[in-house]
Amino acid sequence: MELLLNPVVISLVKVLVIILLFVMVVGTVLTLMERKWMSAVQDRIGPNRANIGSFRGRGTLHIAADGLKSIFKEDTVPEGANRFVFTIAPFFGFFSAIVIWAVIPFAGPLGGFTFQITDVNIGMLLVFAVTSLGVYGTVLAGWSSNNKFAVLGAARGTSQMLSYEIFLGLSLVGLFMIVGSVRVSDLVAYQNTYWFGDVLPKWGVLTQPVSCVLFFVAMLAEAKRLPFDAPEGESEIIAGYFLEYSGMRYAAFMLAEYVAIVGIGALTVTLFFGGYHVPWLHADGFHLLGAVLPLPAWLVVLLQLGAFIGKVLFFCWLVIILRWTVPRFRFDQIMALGWKRLLPVCLANVAVTALVLLAVDGWQ
């Protein structure tokens, strides 16, 4: 018992549960769900052949089949590749996709226990720092492969990720101004305050609608998801920067991409869609228009946990369905959209937010 209450043990358990039982599991399932949804959009059945005896489970066994297949594939390194750089490149994808979960809260505190790995005061700045490391995975993988397509993919990917990192950072400035903090728990707690007494929750999407869209678009571009997947562009440069990877190392790139999608969902929800908060649900129950429905603390936490996971899954679905809804942008369109459209909008958003805040604060 003494050992279980040790803060180091508690945070280790949180880390393992969140990463191995939630993030990796959802990421893995998404690899199958993407193919299933793709086939639904295209009016096909999709993968359903993997079987154990007569059990097929509507294609769920394909997750295991894909993993086993990748493990027993030959792992090749092309001639002339820089072996050391080639080996370390896949690590960066995992690093940037996983370390952001350090600051994501899953539910409100229960007693002295928080459902968040660590609540550092630099919060979102840590997320920016870690996500920006992802660009090294792209540039190193492409550069070390000794392949012209890979180098071109890496050059595109680097330009794109660097550009959209600016909008990613700038889009949240308005939110930081309103809340007055970059600590994630402050950002989430603010979204459980209300306008008009206790009617309309101040979710980020309502206080900063423009930056919500900008942030989501910038995150898609950071993760190189369609419509921003010119760095991978299967039909023009085969698979771009990770073209020369095979077997398990290829699987590492793919899995890191899907884990990054879960991260996009979690960050969007945390910053703009109330985080784990259910509207009108406070620590002691529902409050609406003066009426109170008291609930036990454990039920509140359970509802918040369910709400958070549900919202994250919704955004995972949105990211995937977007892939089958919009065509790929040309690379010059991606850059023009970023620098000539999103950047002025980002700057205008900051200026307008400043003016509105000054007006509101001065008026009160």
């Binding site: 990463i19 690590f91 690093f95 979960w101 492969s145 699987a251 700057l347 200026a351 805040l357």
Partner: protein, 119 residues
Amino acid sequence: MVAEQYLPVMYLSVIALALGAFFTLVGILLGPSRDTAVKRTPFESGMPSEGSEFRRYGVRFYMVALTFLIFDVEIVFFYPWAVRFRELGFYGFWAMALFFVILVVGLVYDWKKGALEWE
């Protein structure tokens, strides 16, 4: 202790690196290894690989990197100001407005010089 708050970040980093190592090693150890000369050539749509990968690439990629460097450093100055915005009031607003104008002038200059064109 402040440093203790950052320990879990270290655990997460270790897990991420362990996953990377797992994926790298499992494939190498369990996969077959039947090496042939053709397999080792870079895959370029089935065409024989011609010349080195280190050829000349468009200068636009480097221009984007330079522009990024300028803007990213400038944007970092926004964060401390944004967090303290409400306490600073009008003084902070005008101080930042000056910086903001310089940033926009830089953007306009970049734009007019054609650094943002992808032609």
